[in-house]
């Protein structure tokens, strides 16, 4: 009993020693070195920065510090935007562009995913097709525009085709890259349970490649918007790209900025939609 008691005393004495030692050497806390390198969410910083920049820009334009040849005032660009709404032209431009974007992007993505899956699943297709994809992907589709015009006409065909081709290649690459990265063990598991080939593709390979395919979509959607301006260079009466090109030709910089702002809003909207799709389709992820 007494021994146990002595054991219990032990730590207490140790702290007492420490207290006493304090007079000899000062006791201080261990310095904290673990701070920083952590992302914290600042929701309104971007908005705030944007507003501040626009205000500075407006002030610069009003005072003449920024010449109106170099850059129109934001209020002028807003005026051009307001004109678009007033005349209802914005809906003509938007609907024309959206039509081209939606058809070009969805058909390009659909074919891209299909070809990407074929490349990933059949080694004969991979051997045959993937060198072509690698060779054709870096070609600026704008360079092919004259050919597209001969093939598809100056109507909607060549515009949709430009976007479609621009979307197709990154989608193929994202898809087969995604399939290549699907956990082999999951596929082996499927085989070990006697799942059919189609079931393995549908239930294991495609969902497994989905995150990569969706990030591919994010990129291909941006490419589609970039190509919109190029696509509407030829024979387009309406469309955001045509509007921007016309503004450039007329040196109407207020309209130019308004058009570019429309493209930005379009890009943000598309990005937001894809984020929503990701959140829903990949809800199984953390």
């Amino acid at each position: 009993m007494s021994l146990d008691a002595a054991d219990l005393e032990q730590p207490r004495r140790a702290t007492a020693d420490l207290q006493q030692n304090r007079h000899v050497a000062a006791v201080k806390p261990v310095p904290f070195r673990g701070g920083g390198f952590v992302h914290t969410r600042h929701r309104f910083v971007a908005l705030f920065l944007f507003v501040v920049l626009v205000i500075l820009w407006e002030i610069g334009s009003q005072t003449g510090f920024i010449s109106n040849i170099a850059l129109p005032a934001p209020s002028e660009a807003a005026g051009a935007m307001a004109d678009l709404f007033e005349t209802g032209m914005i809906w003509k431009h938007l609907s024309a562009s959206l039509y081209r974007l939606v058809i070009g992007w969805s058909v390009g993505s659909l074919i891209g995913v299909t070809v990407g899956l074929a490349v990933a699943l059949f080694s004969i297709v991979r051997a045959g097709v993937s060198p072509f994809v690698s060779a054709l992907f870096p070609i600026p589709k704008i360079a092919l525009l004259p050919l597209f015009i001969i093939w598809f006409g100056i109507g909607e065909g060549s515009k949709v085709a430009t976007i479609l081709f621009g979307v197709f290649f990154p989608t193929v690459i994202a898809t087969y890259g995604g399939v290549d990265n699907v956990d082999r063990n999951l596929i082996r598991m499927g085989q070990s349970f006697g799942l059919s080939w189609l079931s393995i593709v549908r239930k294991i390979i495609i969902p497994g490649a989905l995150p990569a395919i969706l990030s591919g979509f994010r990129i291909s959607a941006s490419i589609a918007i970039i190509l919109l301006v190029a696509a509407e260079m030829i024979g387009a009466e309406f469309g955001i790209g045509a509007y921007i090109l016309m503004a450039g030709a007329l040196f109407a910089t207020d309209q130019l900025i308004a058009g570019v702002a429309m493209l930005s809003v379009l890009g943000l909207t598309v990005g937001w939609l894809i984020s929503r799709a990701e959140r829903w389709l990949l809800r199984w992820r953390a």
């Binding site: 920049l53 010449s67 850059l71 015009i149 260079m233 016309m246 007329l250 040196f251």
Partner: protein, 344 residues
């Protein structure tokens, strides 16, 4: 604490960067008193300044000239505004008017002019359209008309044809193709129905079976001032003497051009010498014996003394404004300075 300062620093940086960009665009291009830069396109109509330089007319005016080549008229106007070049010569476009409104450029003289006695711009249709019955410009209603960009001179001509022929402007489907070669390709392949163009290009096109000529622009636009000479507003206000000397040199070049190519009153040797000078910039990728006839073919008159048809310019300005391709507030005074040359 630290994050706040960092954020402010960031926004300050962004603001400074913006200021720098704007500031850079504002800085006037450094230029010696007598060194000037002239923007040209590789077209015969730009030869007067080439001839003036070659024959030393600019030297007489104590001007040291450098030529800057452009692919299209629009960037030339912008380059004047930015101070990269001093003088240019192109068609009146929406961009030019817009830059005039912003106080950057000013028209100081006239150049290419449609005159009844000299072959002028032609109205062309594709073979398919011709076969479908478009045999004269009056029948263009409901057809597509190729232009480089909206607000280009082609756009103006198309609407003037509609006005005179008596159908609504909206019945012509204006089809922007960005570049002249693209319009040519589209016309040849029948993807657009009609176009209008200077006689030397028109002549080359109608030689083939794909394109048919159906009329002349001069029947639809009176005394059309096709191209003008322009410079920066700064030159007009601060450097009037320089502008005067440039126009004096240019005028002598214009006289030689008209004598050599339009009126053909010049001796063969002199014509050959002038053709040689022009060839350095026009059709330079072809040998002289091939390029020579092309340079001379279908040359249109350039107003002697750079006379300016103000009525035509005003008509064009009104058209731009009626089509909302130029700001409503622009006046003729914003656009043109008539004090340098004879205006009529």
């Amino acid at each position: 604490m630290i994050t706040t300062t960092r954020r402010t620093a960031l926004s300050m940086f962004a603001a400074t960067a913006l200021g720098l960009v704007a500031g850079a665009a504002l800085t006037p291009a450094a230029q010696a008193a007598d060194a000037i830069k002239i923007g040209i396109l590789s077209l015969t109509s730009h030869s007067p300044s080439i001839i003036a330089e070659g024959k030393g007319y600019f030297d007489e005016q104590d001007l040291d000239v450098e030529f800057v080549s452009f692919q299209a008229a629009q960037p030339m106007a912008v380059a004047i505004a930015s101070g990269d070049i001093d003088f240019g010569m192109t068609a009146i476009s929406g961009g030019l008017i817009s830059l005039a409104e912003k106080g950057a450029v000013r028209i100081i003289g006239g150049a290419l002019q449609e005159t009844p006695e000299i072959e002028g711009q032609k109205i062309l249709v594709s073979k398919a359209a011709h076969d479908a019955g478009v045999t004269s410009p009056d029948k263009l209603a409901g057809r597509s008309f190729g232009v480089t960009t909206q607000g280009s001179s082609f756009h103006y001509m198309a609407h003037k044809i509609a006005d005179k022929a008596g159908f609504d402007r909206s019945e012509l489907k204006i089809t922007p193709m960005q570049k002249v070669p693209a319009v040519i390709a589209a016309l040849k392949s029948g993807q657009i129905d009609a176009w209008s163009i200077v006689p030397n290009i028109a002549g080359a096109l109608t030689k083939g079976p794909e394109v048919v000529e159906i009329g002349k622009i001069s029947d639809y636009i009176d005394n059309y001032q096709v191209t003008t000479v322009f410079t920066s507003t700064r030159n007009v206000t601060d450097n009037r003497e320089l502008v005067t000397r440039f126009l004096a040199g240019l005028s002598k070049g214009i006289d030689d051009y008209n004598a050599a190519f339009v009126d053909k009153t010049m001796g063969a040797d002199d014509v050959a010498a002038i053709t040689g000078m022009v060839h350095q910039y026009v059709y330079a990728d072809q040998p002289i014996d091939k390029a020579g006839p092309r340079i001379a073919a279908g040359a249109m008159r350039i107003n002697s003394g750079a006379r300016l048809n103000v009525a035509s310019v005003e008509d064009q300005l009104k058209w731009f404004q009626s089509e909302k391709l130029a700001p409503e507030g622009v006046t003729m005074e914003d656009l043109v300075d008539t004090s340098f040359v004879e205006a009529y």
